[in-house]
């Protein structure tokens, strides 16, 4: 059964003078534990589609179900609760909380969103720090670590809540190619270890090759779906 089911998704933005059609009649399904990429040039609708899947925005028309839940019908508070329970986010600019240490940044969603008991919290963070290779930097603040390390922390923060789906909008855009591959490799390893579905957007052709399912977008329309390698179920 598909983790994400999108039917006839349309998203229009009204500017002062014109209506911008960001997405037009987009249909797709994504299976659990997939490693998916939305690719396309700037303005093709990659970020819009990730925002819709991430319950940060609502489509103008169409149906969108994630984990069998009609996410379009969720109100503000329930959307936030849904995101906290089912989704993880990795941002292009890492978006770590500057006043919290590496450890505390990973801990944040466990305390503030999921209310996990202290002992379990500690175990999960310790494990996650080890997996992303940041155990040594646990007490450092974001301004004390490199970009690649920040994105590792962001990956750990996204995964520590055991989400079904992690969304990453241009996660490698601010990283050098070596670090970018390392981060994508880490995400893939996480998918392998935890069975989490990863969806990321990129316009970096080399990075696209790492995805197992590729959705190509152009002018807000889904032009192609490419399968590479095997998809785990």
């Amino acid at each position: 059964m598909a983790l994400i089911k999108a039917q006839n998704i349309t998203k229009d933005y009204q500017t002062e003078d014109v209506v911008v059609h960001a997405l037009q009649d987009v249909d797709f399904e994504i299976e659990p534990a997939s490693f998916v990429s939305f690719v396309g040039p700037s303005g093709s609708g990659k970020t819009t589609i990730l925002n819709l899947i991430g319950c940060l925005d609502k489509p103008t028309a169409g149906n969108l179900h994630i984990a069998d839940i009609d996410v379009i019908g969720l109100d503000r508070k329930n959307s936030a609760a849904f995101r906290g329970k089912h989704l993880g986010f990795i941002f292009q600019d890492f978006n770590l909380i500057p006043v919290l240490t590496v450890y505390e940044n990973i801990e944040y969603p466990l305390i503030m969103v999921q209310n996990i008991p202290p002992q379990e919290r500690k175990e999960r963070i310790t494990r996650m720090l080890a997996v992303v290779g940041m155990a040594e930097q646990a007490k450092k603040y974001p301004h004390q670590i490199s970009g690649g390390q920040k994105q590792r922390v962001a990956v750990a923060r996204a995964l520590v809540t055991n989400p079904a789906l992690v969304l990453a909008d241009e996660p490698t855009a601010n990283l050098d190619s070596q670090t970018a591959y390392a981060v994508i490799g880490l995400m893939k390893k996480m998918r392998d270890d935890f069975g989490t579905t990863f969806i990321f957007s990129t316009h970096d052709t080399k990075i696209v090759g790492e995805a197992e399912v590729i959705f190509r977008l152009e002018d807000g329309r889904l032009k192609a779906k490419e399968m590479k390698g095997g998809i785990r179920s």
């Binding site: 925002n51 991430g54 940060l56 925005d57 503000r76 508070k77 936030a80 609760a81 849904f82 995101r83 906290g84 329970k85 989704l87 993880g88 986010f89 941002f91 600019d93 978006n95 909380i97 500057p98 006043v99 919290l100 944040y108 969603p109 305390i111 503030m112 969103v113 999921q114 923060r157 996204a158």
Partner: protein, 412 residues
């Protein structure tokens, strides 16, 4: 909740200079208000103490109608000894009453055999009077702190003007209720420093002497001054005595007596009220300082952290928690300002007391101001600051919690 506090405190530390500036502003406001409240409060208490403890007493009981013409000292509105006995019985049975003193007041002529002037006199039982207005003895600048029959204590201004010294013989001449004139010689046994307020330039003689001058068969009473054990119970005791006295009616079934607190008898009550009004406005100023400074800093904090708000909202932080995060920042600023302000304010008050500020009040000069910080004032001001700090954070906090994560994440 502890984590919300941790994040809030770290965010405050993150913008050190701004936090320091805002906390300093609140601190200065708190210090200023505490010092003002404590000094004006002490001045007010001292002023009230001077008026009540050296002249008026905490409250007074008169025959109905006496206060309306009190400046004339009307002898025909005195209470007969039987009427006073009723009052004495009621006062004796009132546990809140510490002491009371009957006074026979009248106006007369004062002569040193070469010059004559007018004088207001209080015929009193000295022991009762000294118990009821204990500061009266401290006003005796010359002479013994006692008053026997045949002796008179006169105000310093009169003694100076008529060049009368201790031990001199003087004559008091007065007209009684029937219009006949009588005179009596007295020995000056004390010189009284003047005090501001009604009765501040009065002379004192023994009540039996006063009755003799006025040719009364038994000493009538113009007023009964009352001192309470606990001054803060004054309104309640006045009410209580009013009820008790209402039962005493004359032949026309009208109340015989009237009870007045010192506020109703002294114009200085208006000064005390003005001090309260000033204190109120100073507190309003403090509220404005805290409100504006915290609101300003919190609005800045929200605008500077829009992307951060977007991030925490995106990862599932509920709007209520985002709201709490900013409110707690304001709360912490308020707490810091209140605590440091309280400590510094207390220190300043201590220094004021160590330095020793002296001031003149009416005729009394060189009064030492003892500024005291009432714990309830400290608590009230701290609570006001903290509540206002929270209120000031509400608008920015609500704004933060209502931000759409997608918009906030796009913010540059």
């Amino acid at each position: 909740m502890i984590n919300l506090f941790k994040i809030a405190i770290r965010n405050l530390i993150r913008y050190k200079r701004r936090t320091l500036l805002t906390a300093s502003l609140i601190t200065i406001g708190v210090v200023f208000v505490l010092v003002f409240v404590s000094i004006t409060g002490s001045f007010k208490a001292m002023m009230i103490g001077q008026i009540t403890d050296s002249m008026l007493g905490h409250l007074q009981i008169h025959r109905k109608g006496y206060v309306a013409s009190i400046d004339n000292l009307p002898l025909n509105l005195n209470m007969k000894p039987q009427a006073y006995a009723k009052i004495a019985t009621v006062l004796g049975a009132t546990p809140e009453v510490a002491a009371f003193s009957p006074r026979l007041k009248f106006g007369g002529m004062f002569s040193n055999f070469t010059e004559t002037t007018n004088i207001r006199l209080n015929g009193v039982y000295p022991e009762k009077e000294f118990q009821t207005v204990p500061l009266l003895t401290s006003r005796i600048s010359e002479g013994k702190k006692a008053l026997n029959r045949g002796e008179i204590m006169i105000p310093a201004l009169l003694a100076k003007g008529l060049k009368v010294k201790l031990g001199d013989t003087v004559v008091i001449v007065a007209t009684n209720a029937e219009g006949s004139v009588n005179g009596k010689q007295f020995i000056v046994s004390g010189i009284l420093e003047s005090a501001t307020g009604p009765g501040g330039r009065d002379g004192y003689i023994h009540i039996e002497d006063a009755a003799e001058v006025l040719r009364m068969p038994g000493a009538e009473v113009s007023e009964v001054a009352v001192r309470l054990k606990d001054f803060s119970r004054l309104p309640a005791v006045v009410k209580q005595l009013d009820v008790k006295m209402a039962g005493e009616v004359n032949q026309e079934k009208r109340p015989m007596f009237e009870v007045h607190s010192w506020e109703q008898l002294s114009p200085f009550f208006n000064i005390a009220r003005m001090i309260d009004v000033m204190t109120f406005f100073i507190k309003i100023m403090l509220i404005a300082i805290v409100l504006i400074s915290i609101m300003n800093v919190m609005i800045m904090a929200v605008y500077e952290r829009i992307r951060e708000i977007g991030t925490i909202a995106a990862i599932g932080t509920l709007p209520g928690k985002i709201r709490s995060m900013f409110i707690i920042e304001g709360f912490c600023l308020g707490i810091v300002g209140a605590i440091i302000g309280g400590l510094l304010g207390s220190a300043v008050i201590l220094i004021v007391n160590l330095v020793g500020i002296r001031f003149d009040f009416g005729q009394q000069q060189g009064l030492l101001l003892k500024a005291t910080l009432n714990p309830s004032d400290l608590l009230t001001i701290s609570v006001i600051v903290i509540i206002v700090a929270v209120v000031a954070s509400l608008q920015p906090a609500i704004k933060a919690s209502k931000m759409e994560p997608i918009e906030a994440l796009r913010h540059v």
